[in-house]
């Protein structure tokens, strides 16, 4: 009984996060300016991290946690580098 509810809820969470990724990709393509695209890329990273975490919960495998951690760190570095580039025109001065 609880098993079916758990499966359905985790599937629904998967679909919701996938729709969130689709919205972020739509904003990434639409723009209209560079900072919108950077923000959309950051949201895409966060949603991908959530998707992998939920996938780990669904399969019961705690290895996916490390992939989510790596995605979170790479997303932080990428967004900071892009914001710095927008601010100065170069990443490392």
């Amino acid at each position: 009984m609880t098993g079916t509810f758990f499966t359905a809820a985790v599937w629904a969470a998967h679909v919701l996060v996938a729709f969130g990724m689709a919205f972020a990709v739509a904003r990434l393509l639409r723009g209209p300016r560079a900072q919108d695209r950077v923000l959309a890329l950051d949201t895409l990273y966060v949603n991908a991290m959530l998707l992998i975490l939920i996938f780990g919960i669904r399969t019961g495998n705690s290895l996916y946690f490390e992939a989510a951690l790596v995605i979170g760190m790479l997303g932080f570095v990428a967004t900071v580098a892009l914001a710095k580039f927008l601010l100065r025109g170069e990443v490392i001065e």
Partner: protein, 119 residues
Amino acid sequence: MSTAAAILVLAGALLAFLGSLGLLRLKTFYERVHPPTMATTLGIGLVLIGSMLYFSSLESRPVVHEILIGVFMTLTTPVTYMLLLRAAVHRDQTEGRDPLQQDPKGRPQPEAAPGRQPR
């Protein structure tokens, strides 16, 4: 226990969905910065608590390594968004338009210099 974890995960995913929807629907950039923070703070927090509950009950021992992601996201989200927002304000000011008076489409205003429009 797994029912509580499922409800927490579903709530977190709903917050992430709403944050991305707000990113798509709102009009100006300075409004669009706000909704994704729902996903990065409370959304990820709820999913991580659900994951901790589920794996703790699955392996019948306390599993708390998800706290790492929570601490990391809590520390880095303000840094990235402050940097991005300052870059946006800087770009608006160098192009000679008031950041608070942007028209909803985000197009350059007519009195802005027509020659240079970095996208």
